[in-house]
Symmetry: C2
Subunit: 360 residues, 2 copies
């Protein structure tokens, strides 16, 4: 069988240069060699986040980075708003609830974003809100949230804004500093074109005050411990050296190409995918679509899960079905990171053939 083509929204394919870095002999992390890697990676992460703030690398998946944000920024009983327009917005609500925050969920109808005016209204009604949590791009609904606007609105209050850009970063425009985002979390396996296993978090000076105050229990996630050893080019606990080295390699490629060009290419791939879909009579699911993936409605009477299953079995191409209440109702094709146009063409061809095969 040919190599598997991954068109899923994470993990995404990894460039061969990056894979190669993963398989180099391990180095000890209390060495100059590691410190040099740490510093180079950090500069590349700052470029990726478009920030002058520090970006901390965690040995965790993206959800771990979300939990790190909550544990460091939220104390039990804190009033917070969680903007949710899909599964990953709901994840904020779940983590915040687990940490006994007083959560105001601000949900959109799936497929749409939460309108900035709504956030403004709820923030006005609740001047004691300490933090606003939002997703940047929710891969479950393929919705883009206008985090720039959310941040503008939040910046007028005493609250801070925390953004999950696990899937967005690298593919979708984001300027942490210029947009006044107070904390951004991400992970290695999507737009960053590396293997899963690394989480990232960056925190603004305004948010750092909450880190100092947070009464949530934490040791592994404690950003104060990361800060303490940062200047020495170290992490407080054994870092996943091979993953850091690999991710640095991918970030070097992004930096060489420039973020603007990566964003532009992602846009073009999105447009291409949608044009092909449209020619097949497929309608987009989201009203407020992001660029890193496309979610097509499955034609009436067909089962999206079966379509995806058949495509992986017959063509060895992995598309994504729907999650949660969208199960069976959508088919999702990612065009982020190292996903190539030729592979999207193959994926869309397989989708077309499967839809017209009449098996359903």
């Amino acid at each position: 069988m040919d190599r598997q083509i991954l068109l899923t929204p994470g993990p995404t394919p990894i460039p061969p240069e990056t894979l190669k870095m993963e398989s180099l002999p391990i180095i000890h992390h209390r060495t100059k060699e590691f410190m040099d890697l740490f510093n180079e990676l950090h500069e590349n992460l700052q470029y990726l986040f478009q920030t002058k703030n520090k970006v901390y690398s965690l040995a965790s998946s993206g959800t771990g980075a979300m939990e790190c944000a909550v544990a460091n920024l939220v104390s039990p009983g804190d009033k917070v708003i969680a903007v949710a327009c899909g599964v990953f917005g709901e994840r904020w609500i779940k983590i915040l609830t687990a940490f006994s925050a007083n959560v105001i969920p601000l949900r959109s109808e799936w497929g749409a974003q939460v309108k900035p005016e709504e956030l403004e209204k709820v923030l006005k009604e609740n001047p004691d809100v300490k933090t606003v949590f939002s997703t940047h791009t929710d891969t479950s609904t393929a919705v883009l949230c206008d985090i720039k606007k959310y941040a503008e609105i939040t910046a007028k209050t005493k609250a801070i804004i925390v953004v999950d850009s696990i899937s967005g970063l690298g593919g979708q425009e984001l300027y942490m500093d210029d947009w006044h985002l107070d904390a951004v979390v991400s992970a290695s396996q999507k737009g960053l074109m590396s293997a899963p296993g690394l989480g990232f978090i960056s925190v603004s000076p305004k948010a750092w005050g909450l880190v100092q105050e947070s009464k949530s229990p934490r040791f592994y996630w404690d950003l104060r411990a990361f800060e303490k050893v940062f200047a020495t080019g170290q992490t407080p606990f054994t870092p996943p050296v091979s993953l850091l080295r690999a991710t640095n390699e991918s970030l070097k490629m992004i930096r060489k190409k420039t973020l603007k060009n990566v964003w532009q290419e992602t846009k073009e791939l999105a447009q291409f995918t949608r044009e092909v879909g449209s020619s097949l009579g497929l309608k987009m699911f989201p009203k407020d679509p992001c660029e890193i993936l496309t979610s097509f409605k499955v034609p009436e009477g067909l089962d999206g899960q079966k379509i995806v299953k058949q495509i992986v079995e017959k063509y060895n191409i992995s598309l994504a079905g729907g999650q949660d209440k969208l199960k069976g109702k959508v088919v999702r094709i990612a065009h982020m990171g190292y996903i190539q146009k030729a592979d999207i063409q193959k994926g869309m061809k397989a989708l077309a053939e499967t839809l017209s095969s009449g098996v359903f």
Copy 2:
């Protein structure tokens, strides 16, 4: 310069077969291919832990697995005993304190273990203790704790025993089920001969009751979420596929060789290292030594940190110095995992030459 020789107690060298697995193209984790890997790895982990309990894989370092144990097993205010005979025993105390446990620290003089009788006494004096935490082998002091005895003593009470075998597992005898250990945590980068970035935790049926009851906030660490999807060959959050694949490869090697043979080889390497050290006039630091590494006292008037620095610069061989209050006072040589006798010979030769060079 030649390849760096790693004789540090983690990360340890990685076999080439394992490194190769890290650089294979990424696969999606919601596939049969991943489920097969998950199930095979799990069987190998059960062999390694010598348990019929489930072993959960975490995207985290070993400290993350420790935090996972505390978050799942300890509620704020719970009375617990933390046995500490080095830096990593102290880490239990720090995590437990962060999670507002009522901690009774049971410290040994560094170099010795906590005597089982002491644990017995404190447990008798405190019949309301819910959990005993201990390290198996503390690499900072090179001490072996008699966790088998600790567990025998604990099993006579209502308490459970939780063991950090991050450095011990794979190198040092451990039978989770036969010894009645209620929870064991470990990590990928030491005896398991893989890259850092994976944590593991196994929990006995007796300990599972506490998982259900724990009031500590957790979402990412919540073992109930891992349990919920376990039967489907999945983890609740994106797993670090490349690290899991690599670790499975190393575990296959251990299984092929058998644990008993690995333990025996580790013992023989320890003996060899100590004989060479003795012939150089070096004294062992610990009174209760483990087998996975040797800690030599640095001769009076010399600085262990400088010795280690000089050896890495001149020979490209990484030994470890002392941590915390042992800084400068000991030199540590690991003989766990994939560390080869030929490399230990080179390391000891470099140590001998450096000690007699008179630079100090």
